[in-house]
Symmetry: C2
Subunit: 194 residues, 2 copies
């Protein structure tokens, strides 16, 4: 299959996935959306899991995975979230919302999604937090893996609840009122409230 | 239908929901799990949406919705999360994980789940944060609705990713490293890191 045609089919798969969820996604629906034959799809992807894993592979190398390097953690996080492929990208957040509840049910799906989608995103975000640590915005002993999950957790949870992407203002609010205070606390702990 | 029998069927519905997700939940599966006839189920619940809304109604009045009143925000949040019906309750987090990605697709389901499940949980958590505000652990102008979503967002996101409940230690980590710093920042803002 020519590369462009394959991308069209994978984009159709993403559309169907966002609309119906993984469990209700069928080759029939993807074939219709892509104006392809089901036989063509089955030849390339034996199981819908394979189709979905390749489809999320489309999000690799998106702008949100480049290091924005704005000079501040706040700037970097907002630039990343608001770039194509970031947390405020309706396609990405819809896809992730459709996959999140099913991935732990199928180990092979989980592994594929992790490799093709999650790992690159986490790595790009980790780089941002490592730069913040070098600048002293995050403490040397801070648990970066927890800190880097705050913004995706809040954004995705709210998006799933509302059915809408959070929007840049709400993302900035999450950064200012939750992420940055959590980071600041790893540098100079705030007075204990316990 | 006698009350006890109805509860048995609703509990079976929760089991099926957690295992298969909402889209794949069928009256057949619930009838089998509850050793009931499909006709019995259809008489009481015309649509699976009604069955699921009544099923999550089982979580009302659970211990996690009582005001724990331990004297600190940290104590209250941990007591609530670790009580039956709280964020570390495998049944609740599994149910919520199964519903979160579908609720915005069906307005009637969304309304029912909000009334029977979300609203009571949010109200109970809001009370905890209002008490924290009275004690000065949270600033008078703080956005409680954002603060109260931090712990559920982190816990549920991690549970969906891993397929496991977070566990009391991880919940305490979220409270100590994210929730309390965000609250402290509303009282005496930490030095700006921008």
């Amino acid at each position: 299959m020519a590369g462009d045609r394959e991308v069209e089919i994978l984009e159709a798969a993403i559309d169907v996935l966002r609309e119906t969820g993984y469990d209700r996604l069928t080759f029939d629906a993807v074939a219709t959306a892509a104006r392809a034959s089901k036989a063509t799809l089955y030849r390339r992807w034996p199981h819908k899991r394979d189709l979905v894993i390749d489809a999320v592979g489309l999000f690799i190398d998106c702008p949100a995975e480049q290091d924005p390097d704005t000079g501040s953690l706040r700037g970097d996080l907002l630039a990343q979230a608001c770039a194509d492929g970031g947390l405020d990208d309706e396609v990405v957040i819809g896809t992730w919302g459709a996959l999140l509840p099913v991935i732990h049910r199928e180990p092979e799906l989980a592994r594929g999604i992790h490799e093709r989608f999650l790992a690159p995103k986490i790595e790009a975000t980790r780089t941002i937090f490592e730069h913040a640590r070098e600048r002293g915005e995050v403490g040397t002993d801070a648990d970066l893996d927890t800190l880097l999950m705050i913004l995706p957790s809040l954004s995705i949870h709210e998006a799933l609840l509302s059915g809408r992407r959070p929007g840049p203002d709400r993302i900035a609010e999450f950064v200012d009122t939750v992420v940055l205070p959590a980071c600041a606390a790893t540098v100079a702990p705030a007075p204990s409230t316990r």
